[in-house]
Amino acid sequence: MKQKRSPLAFLRRIEGLPVAAVLVVLYAIFIITAPTVFSGYRIYMSFLQTVPPVLVCALGLTLVVTAGEMDLSFPAVVALSGFIFAWVFKTSNNAPWATWAGFALALAGGALVGYINGILVAKVHVPSIMATLAAQFFWYGVTVLLANGLQLNIKEVQDTLIHTIFVGRIGGFVPAQALWSLALAVFLWFILNRHKFGEAVMFIGDNAEVARVMGINVEATRIRLFTLMGVIAAFAGLLLTLEINVFYPTQGGGFMLPTMATVFVGGTSIAGGLGSIFGTFFGAYIIGSLEAGIVATTISGYWVQLVEGVVMGASMVLNVAISEGRIGVITNRLRHWGVPIHSNALDGVSEGDVASK
């Protein structure tokens, strides 16, 4: 049976395109409904400043979800890394070299948290959602203890080179963190799609047993993956702390749900096996723009969450429909308008041609 080619089938081939389309439509709606806010460049610059920390976490989480795992501990790493950086900077009397030492130590702290998560998941076989939930509580606890529950004000960091490099304003208005997060997205896209580590991650998420019998070191890959996630979350914490010039013990606490929503809106399925880095990239801007955008349209504040839920739900339905090839079903249905269609037509190429002599 010949597969009915949907006119929209090509959408599947371009990574993140449907999510980008949702983002464009969303901004178009905002421009129409809130022209005063959304026709100027300022609102977009503000998104480029606020979205990157969540985006960076979500990029790391995309790899973790692709491997069929979950990490709930990254908000605590955002806090811990911010603390380490701020503490090193403060205790060394705001010395410029301390910014780099603090930066390196913060990333190392994230790596340590991630490594321990990895050991628990890969070696002790604690399901990752459980192990990292415990880690989330534990590392927030550690951070609060170390900080004595106090915030650290580091406004002197504004005059340092590291501040200019990571969160400076390029050309006077483009936040540097937006470019760093874009660079990270490009880098992780290559790791996931063009590096053997990424291929191992995909196969493990697809079927860990297959990966094992094909000679992939499943345990080592999982440990590396969680370590990488820890480093990435620590980087997100550094971007946040540098941007706001202050560490506070509950920072990152609000990241959990937006980050997960970003990954799922971006088209990476919780089922594992496949991940969309660029989907996550555009997804972060959808999630990060929603609230401000809805508020700007001046509808009652009570509607904000409801509309957010609708947009997220619609994006996820769109992603599932496209990834399962059901976009064809939908367009065919529209064409036949209610006439039931034969299900075989949709099974596609099950009758492959195998030469048997």
Partner: protein
Amino acid sequence: MDEVAVEHYALRMVNIEKYFGLVCALKKINLDVGRNEVIGLIGDNGAGKSTMVKILTGVFPPTSGELYIAGQKVDLRTYNVKRAHEHGIETVYQDRSLGEKQVLWRNFFIGREITNRFGFINVKKEKAIASEIMVNTIGFRGKGITVDSSVKLLSGGERQGVAIGRAMHFEAELIILDEPTVALSLKEVRKVINFAHQIKDGGKACIYISHDIQDVYEISDRFVIMDRGEIVASIVKKDISLKALDEFLLEYSHGLRDKAES
């Protein structure tokens, strides 16, 4: 046996034993597989077939015994899945050979990617080789399946074909087909058997494990029958008809042999 004689075998197992705690799973297994021989390995559940396969493929080591591949003695302490691949032992499992959501070209090279020194995959080269295996080794033609198709679009028989083609590409000495036709329709089983014939035609050795006596009979040169961790019989195809083999096996499964012996 001297070293020269060993060379004629793709695989030689000498007194291989495996204990799980006190339970003996394999008892003094001695098996030679010729360079271009297809062995049909038959036995009931629990006969030790899959334990033997796991030892051969490096999933776990035997408790004692020696293993030779193409005349070379294998160091069993460092033997693992990667080493088995290096030695030329490839395995096709009933359902864990391919990553379902992954595209075909990735499935051909998973675990031994063609990379540069930084570990980045040479996609162009992998795709070209995968495509060449698809057309020339396993004979996929037309109908829209390319190296960019994901495995879930393939039928069960075609998936096994891909796994067999992959094994042949990597210059296997010995290809183990571990129940490759379980849960397949008759038409798909036919495809798998055709692929298995190509192993023989390609000059490779093969161990074919199946419950289906008819399939085993068609493609094997010799039948090795296992029961409760031991090899109980080895019969060359020309010495036995399908019917006689079937009856022979029935005697085992009904325990008649035990009675006759005791």
